[in-house]
Symmetry: C2
Subunit: 355 residues, 2 copies
């Protein structure tokens, strides 16, 4: 059985880490006898926008919908195209149109990586952020009035549906079931955001009734970010709205040393549409073109993709290879962000060889 993978590198360091992601995937495919058919697409980048006046061709949905997965780099280059145009024109389209309503992001302190938190060792930080990925604060409803005057006002609606909340909660509770600690933390802000967030809390309570073996707690997002820093060991599975999940899944990886290595999966659990796998980091215009971007986020995203496609063993091997190369501390191989003098390519090659 062949898995058809659409590859979209996007902008900036996206174009640099994608080749290393593919190198590692090929190594894993070879070792575990997996048949991957990767097809590269040029659209979904700011350069494409500058040429075509849009981020994606009109028939992107048709072109991509029958792939088994999307392997995605990073998009955005504010000097070329404003972020809200490039992102809403690409990544956020995929998430919404392909109903990738789960954004799953592991936060794990890896061997060889120094946490910015004092005294934390690998094993101390190991949790998942499960983020709602299609609705909530990322809304397309709203507008501006009294433009150009002192009365100018902008309004944007946060929209949450029972369907949207319940399905992400179900996924998070199910995930918590598979974990030894069986713990779920809900991110809320029902003391300040007085309409949507109390509703979110209600749905968490309702869902919890069906999972009596899960220990459930909740924190307001302000103190929750504080607790990520003060008590990262408290967390097992953390579930949040689109915005809160976004924040927590950058902060969590930062607590594990570098967001350069964090992966993510945008999942349509029913498999009706392709899921999308991408590093948490962005296109990083500041270091683009230098060949020093850390490719681990991309490679690890590839591992999540193989897991999603049913190849758990291959995914484990990829993760072990990442851990082994990080633990080696080999300065000539590691990229500068993790203390080495190596390049995107040297690190990518070392991991592919280990696989």
């Amino acid at each position: 059985m062949t898995h058809r993978i659409a590859v979209i590198a996007g902008d900036g360091i996206g174009t640099e880490v994608i080749p290393e992601g593919l190198r590692a995937l090929e190594a894993a495919a070879k070792r575990f006898n997996i048949d991957l058919d990767c097809q590269t697409f040029e659209f979904g980048s700011c350069d494409y926008y500058l040429e075509h006046g849009k981020m994606l061709p009109d028939d992107w949905f048709e072109q991509l919908k029958d792939f088994d997965a999307l392997f995605y780099g990073a998009v955005g280059w504010p000097e070329k195209v404003p972020d809200h145009i490039s992102l809403w024109g690409s990544l956020l389209q995929f998430r919404r149109q392909f109903d990738q309503y789960i954004n799953l992001r592991p936060c794990k302190l890896m061997p060889g990586i120094k946490s910015p938190l004092a005294g934390r060792q690998p094993g101390d930080i190991d949790f998942y952020v499960v983020r709602e990925n299609t609705e909530g604060e990322y809304s397309s409803v709203g507008g501006k009035m009294f433009e150009g005057t002192d009365r100018e006002v902008v309004i944007q609606d946060t929209v949450m549906t029972r369907t949207g909340i319940d399905r992400v909660l179900k996924y998070a509770f199910d995930l918590a079931q598979t974990r030894p600690r069986k713990k779920l933390t809900s991110a809320t802000k029902s003391n300040g955001i007085s309409i949507t967030m109390p509703y979110w809390d209600e749905r968490v309570e309702a869902m919890a009734k069906g999972y009596p073996e899960i220990a459930v707690d909740k924190f307001h997002i302000d103190i929750l970010t504080a607790n990520f820093v003060l008590h990262p060991d408290w967390f097992d599975v953390v579930v949040g709205s689109n915005l809160f999940g976004d924040i927590l899944s950058d902060l969590g990886p930062a607590c594990t040393g570098t967001i350069g290595i964090a992966p993510s999966a945008n999942i349509n659990p029913e498999g009706k549409f392709p899921s999308l796998f991408e590093p948490v980091h962005g296109s990083a215009p500041d270091i683009a073109g230098k060949g020093i971007a850390n490719p681990i986020g991309q490679i690890w995203s590839g591992a999540m993709m193989l897991e999603h496609l049913g190849h758990q063993e291959a995914a484990d091997a990829m993760l072990k290879a990442i851990e082994a190369v990080l633990a080696s501390g080999d300065q000539g191989v590691l990229t500068p962000d993790v203390g080495g003098q190596g390049t995107t390519e040297s690190l990518g090659r070392a991991i592919a060889e280990k696989i």
Copy 2:
């Protein structure tokens, strides 16, 4: 000239730290010959709600509006009253009705306090969060539809006005002017929140034109929280919307060791209405009644109040006393959260004596 201060202790540890805040204020008033007339109010607590069915009497505005300042503990006790009712019925009313549109929160690593961030020393972290305090994501517009069905949907409007944004930006830029580094960081999320946040960015750019000597940058809130952990030394004055400011002003103090000691000022800069001074921490039902709450957040808020009332010298003396007692490391005096075996009272007395 007498300063009339309304004192509202609220719930939980609010009632425990307020007396120590007052003790320190009295000491400072005595030493610097300041005439403070403090009047205590029972309303604004969940117990008041249980008795009266509301958090505040109908004439609270009349009762409080002529005070020079409000000295406020903490409110909320979810087992008695849901948070969104207790908070919207009290603190959030004050902020909005008294047009306290600035929420100012220093994040400063103090001597004797261990930062959870590896290798950070006092002096490394020293910035202000300036938070918009009356509009934005904390909105009272929205509702629920299709209740009780699978189609159930909740909507809440984020509302931002040019007036509301510009005045908080102006305050933040003015504050940055007074600081040696003259640096301002704006919290945004214009890549995902595509209507309100690009507008916020626009207003920042417009305001920046009037302050050519200020170095301005912006980060999306997700990576900004990561940078608080990875590079807290980057920041000088950070300005954000109501929600983003809320998050950053818990996370910032967490990076400085304990949110138990962080103060805040809710300011109406024009002095048309009283400003409100309160610790960043909440009512902490889990440790309430044990007499171990750290009173420094309350005392430091008192210092901010004296500064606001024009008594800079007295405010400085209070802050120095806090620093001296913290630096002493006296286990018998310090509360457990900062490594001692003392009580709220022992720590409060020690600071008052130093003043």
